[in-house]
Amino acid sequence: MARLKITPKLEITRRALLTVTLIAYVASPLVVLAVLAAAGKSPIIALDALYRGTIGTVPGFAESIVQATPLMLLAIGLVIAFRAKVWNIGAEGQQVFGAIVVTWFVLPFLKDPWPSYVMIPIALLLSFIGGGLFAAIPAIMRSKLGINEVITTIMMNYVAIDALNWLVRGPFQDKSIPGSYPESPIFPQQYSLPIILSHSNVTIGIIISVVSCVLVYYLLFRTPLGYSIRAVGLNPSAAKTSGISVNRVVNSAMILSGGLAGLGGGVYILGITHELLPEQASGIGYTAVVVSLLGNVHPLGVIFASIFFGALISGMSSVERALQIPQTLSLLSQGIIIVLILIIQVFARYELKRA
């Protein structure tokens, strides 16, 4: 009687990881098509829309990049945290807080803005610092008190979302327009990220994201801090025995991760929305967790995975328009794809043997 047994592999080869990831990439659009076919929609039209929405047309391609940009920043930040085995589920709150800090900085300067090459770098820097500070609270709770960071970061998410909701209806609200809309005043042109692809929303944000990934690569694999982060993540006991301060590493990883998430929020608000809206809390922080996994928690993988996800989101919008289907279908597809990725990824780590 042949029974399948799942046994852990001795060494996870890079080839296995890549194969598995590739399968995940290919399977995902197939899932979308399958779901649509099940819903009775034509897969041909869907496939065409998917293609046009991702790489087939310039607007589609642009939208993919636009969606990928903040995702990439959040995901690369998570890579730092996850390498230290610090489970930062708070990227959502950190990016919201980053956007809040940007708004706080921008509002006093609505009338008389300084030139963009001054305002934008400062705003982005502040969003990074803001995200980092926001993450410092769960970081300290873990390193000083041993409180599980999963719960604390999730709590902080809701604190940020509620703060956002309060601010856009209160102190940050645009009082100059009639009626009471939950939004901040629109930022002047000086505060928008420069666009690099004409007639689109593609800004220097994507460059910032990719550069961040490269920097994180160097951080993790070429600097002592990155080394200690990886050591603590792989074997905190051995790291401690060798004199590494696990607390310092956990704090650093968490704060850097929060900072990058905050930066992601800043790039989002300065590049896409140009004002503070409740939609800032879009759930991107949770998606970033999955993107980081799909990228095998590696900077290079994250670049590809973010673009893939950005394309997925953009492609799904295109499909929605083409087939006149509601947005919930893409949410469903996304959910299925995520679970599928989680299942497929397992096979890189384990092998199936006949018992």
Partner: protein, 507 residues
Amino acid sequence: MRGIVKRFPGVIANDNVDFELRAGEIHGLLGENGAGKSTLMNVLYGFYHADEGTIDVFGKPALLRSPADAIKIGIGMVHQHLKLVSDMTVVENIILGLKSPKGFLTDVASAEKRISDLGEHHGLSVDPKAQIWQLSIGEKQRVEILKSLYRDARILILDEPTSVLAPSEVKGFFAALRNLKQTGIAIVLITHKLDEVMDITDRVTVLRKGRKITTQPTSSVDQQKLAQLMIGEEIPAMVAKSQTSADEVLLQIRHLRVFDDRGLEAVKDVSLEIRRGEILGVAGVSGNGQRELVQTTVGLRKPASGSITLHGGEITGKSTRSIIGFGVAYVPENRNEDGCVSDFGIDENLILKDFDKPPVCNTIGPQIPTFLNEKQIRSRAKQAIADFGIKATGPTAKARSLSGGNLQRLVLARELTGQPQLIVISQPTRGLDVAAAEYVRSLIVQQRNRGAAILLVDEDLAELVAVSDRLAVMYKGEIVGLLKPGQFRPEEIGLMMTGVKKMTLEA
């Protein structure tokens, strides 16, 4: 058991082994670490599945797919690492997994009674209501045995049961075993201790490197013969030690008091000193404070009171990092857990202590680290592999792929390079084969000859006696004996290890 073959990735743990057990006998299963004794018995217990071979129990072929099957036909096993749930009571641990007479409700009351009765009957009394974490190791072991007796075991497998007992406790333990034997229960005693085999077993089977060597009635062999069968080659001679004038005191521990993780006093009032060029061995049954002593010396634990000075300077309570900076090396007993990062390569493991300092890290000025220096890291790895004979596929081979002996070479390469003045070592040859152990011992003596002060904690008394210049014995957190060369008598040391004898030491 006939023709048992069990393979694990990269190694054949049991190579065509036959094993036969008779009712009412105590059968010793003897072999060195890694000989395959535990594996064989785990196969019998259904915990592992044999790749080949058959098992018959009580005359009938047995299909042992899991411990549940083994338990059903009357096999019980007490593992080396006790499988008890700390937070639950004795009763709860014993009735775990059994069908209750009250259906899906647990029947604690009647179980308590039965456990008390069983305990009294066999001389293994324990308070059923006690919680496991409150018990002593000896009592915990009794609970483990009661687990099997409660399930009407007719075959009892004991895996290195005396490794956690003090010599005096062993006497009582063996008496209980003899009692059990009388009731017709067959006992398999897995051990690597020759004296135990001679003491209590009726027959003995010797395993070496996964193969069965022989099965003999105990009466027809002696310790020497068993040792020969077990090791198969001559026991190597001791390493020659040069004369050193061990004058200067390097490490001084004064009235150290340390608490363990549970808040109990592990080190009560320990004062020791180690000179340059001297090996101070620390003997004792594990769990008498040696671990806490070692951890405090290297800064992994803070003492409650007392002081430790290195070369005159206070290091009490300082961080591990700064202590390492003073030239202290530490070879931990769990080399996989504490000594290296399995998923790092050899090169990355070698820089674990100084990854942010020159030469492996570039710096701005003397203090501010920038980037890792790949060239230096690689050359260090190549050097270490050459100097210490590490068998690996290359400098980037993952530590996970190294055998026990090679892993220890890696750890030693990291710790011993750089001329440390104090070396703290715990269980250096645990789990190593004879050749690897020999090499490790020679390295230790080499360092001593060079002038390092060495604190050596070792369960292997023979090794300790062979290598140490002076020998301290620890019992319940205190130094109960400090022996000079010429005073090392195993019987005396054994008595000290169990607290029977105590030397008066100069303050």
